[in-house]
């Protein structure tokens, strides 16, 4: 199973990401970032859908994407 973790800078952006993506039929979950980025704690969007589709959606909606990582399990 492959999923992507998208790091956003605050819980507000995490919640907005979830709302925007769910409204477009992309199921996702929010989780706390385990390893802090350079700027400090943040939240992750865990999503199975293609990140090359998801990230532009988030950016179009004014959501700051800090980094993303694809995980295979």
């Amino acid at each position: 199973m492959t999923y992507t973790l998208i790091s956003v800078s605050s819980v507000t952006y995490a919640m907005k990401s979830k709302t925007v993506l769910n409204n477009l039929g992309h199921y996702c979950e929010i989780e706390r970032q385990e390893k802090n980025s350079r700027t400090g704690c943040g939240y992750l969007i865990r999503i199975k859908d293609d990140p090359s589709v998801i990230v532009p959606i988030l950016e179009r909606n004014g959501i700051r994407v800090r980094e993303r990582k694809t995980v295979e399990r």
């Binding site: 800078s9 605050s10 819980v11 507000t12 952006y13 995490a14 919640m15 907005k16 709302t19 929010i30 989780e31 706390r32 802090n36 350079r38 700027t39 400090g40 704690c41 943040g42 939240y43 004014g62 700051r64």
Partner: protein, 378 residues
Amino acid sequence: MKQVYFDNAATTYPKPPSVSEAVKSAVVKYGGNPGRGGHAYSMNAAEMVYSVREKAAAFFGAEPENTAFTLNCTHSLNLAIKGIVRPGERMVISSMEHNAVARPSYALSKQGVRVDVAKIGRTDSETVSNFKQLIGPDVSLVVCTAASNVTGRLNPIREIADICRKSGVCFIVDGAQACGVVPLKLSDGMNFICTAGHKGLYGPTGTGLLVSDGKYSLRTIIEGGTGATSAELEQTGFMPERLESGTLNTVGIAGLGAGISYVNSVGMDYIKSHENELSGMFLDGISGLPDIKIYRDGEKFVPTVAFNLAGIPSERLAGALSEGGFALRGGLQCAYLAHRSLGTLPDGAVRFSPSVFSSAKDVLLLINYLKKICKTGL
């Protein structure tokens, strides 16, 4: 003695039952600190806070991330005004501002900001012209109340916003008296709407909103923990966390969400027409009284009426009304500039302000009580 409440311009009362329920339920349901962890308690609270943020943003035509929770309208106005203007710059405010605008402006004037006051004229076009004359290239900020908290008069904020937009000047609107009664949207042209949550939005006290169109980044006057960018000593740079240092008023926010839902469900058209009917009835009832002075210059109003009776100091009259079972506010209503403009210093005026829960029967009782005072004196 039963008290009839007509001081809704200060804070609305009663609140809708759904607001009380939301507050009670929030104490039990939302125990975690939103945005401060990944555990279920924190995330549960964060979800509720975000849902209210979305609702508030939609109410003003804003993006959720540009909608910050504050303690009250004064808090919002201080954040916005002091976040924009710098020493050496010039700002323009109206002659009918509440102290929530007048005092921060005065404080800034002592730090080298030039503050000019645009007179609210007899007509809207006169007001617009007065603003136009004062807005020049050296002005960085204009602040105007959407509706006076003393007279209820609505100001031509769209037209003022238009001048500001054409001049590249930031425009902040104090929406405390207008929000929830008349539609106020960022699309009207202002850059910031500052408002209370506990007045026309029927939320609990201790709630306010700062709504931005995102064009201006505010310098901060309060810094601290935001749950974001914690590894940096520099304050978080993005909204809304930039302006939300410290733990949010989760319980109040839950109540505010219920208040906004209430306004949406009842509808501002109904609220406005009901309250206008009551203020119209009140005006009709008192206008024939001997020695009545009603402060009602202007074209459009929210349902607030300021008056004085028979030369009785307003605080004394308000005291007598309170003894008779009617809660109205006398004095200056924290609006020195407005009363200076109206010529009502030092005693101010008595203010009648109904809400959606006020009744015609109670307005008639108040009119009769004022008639009795006229006949028998205090």
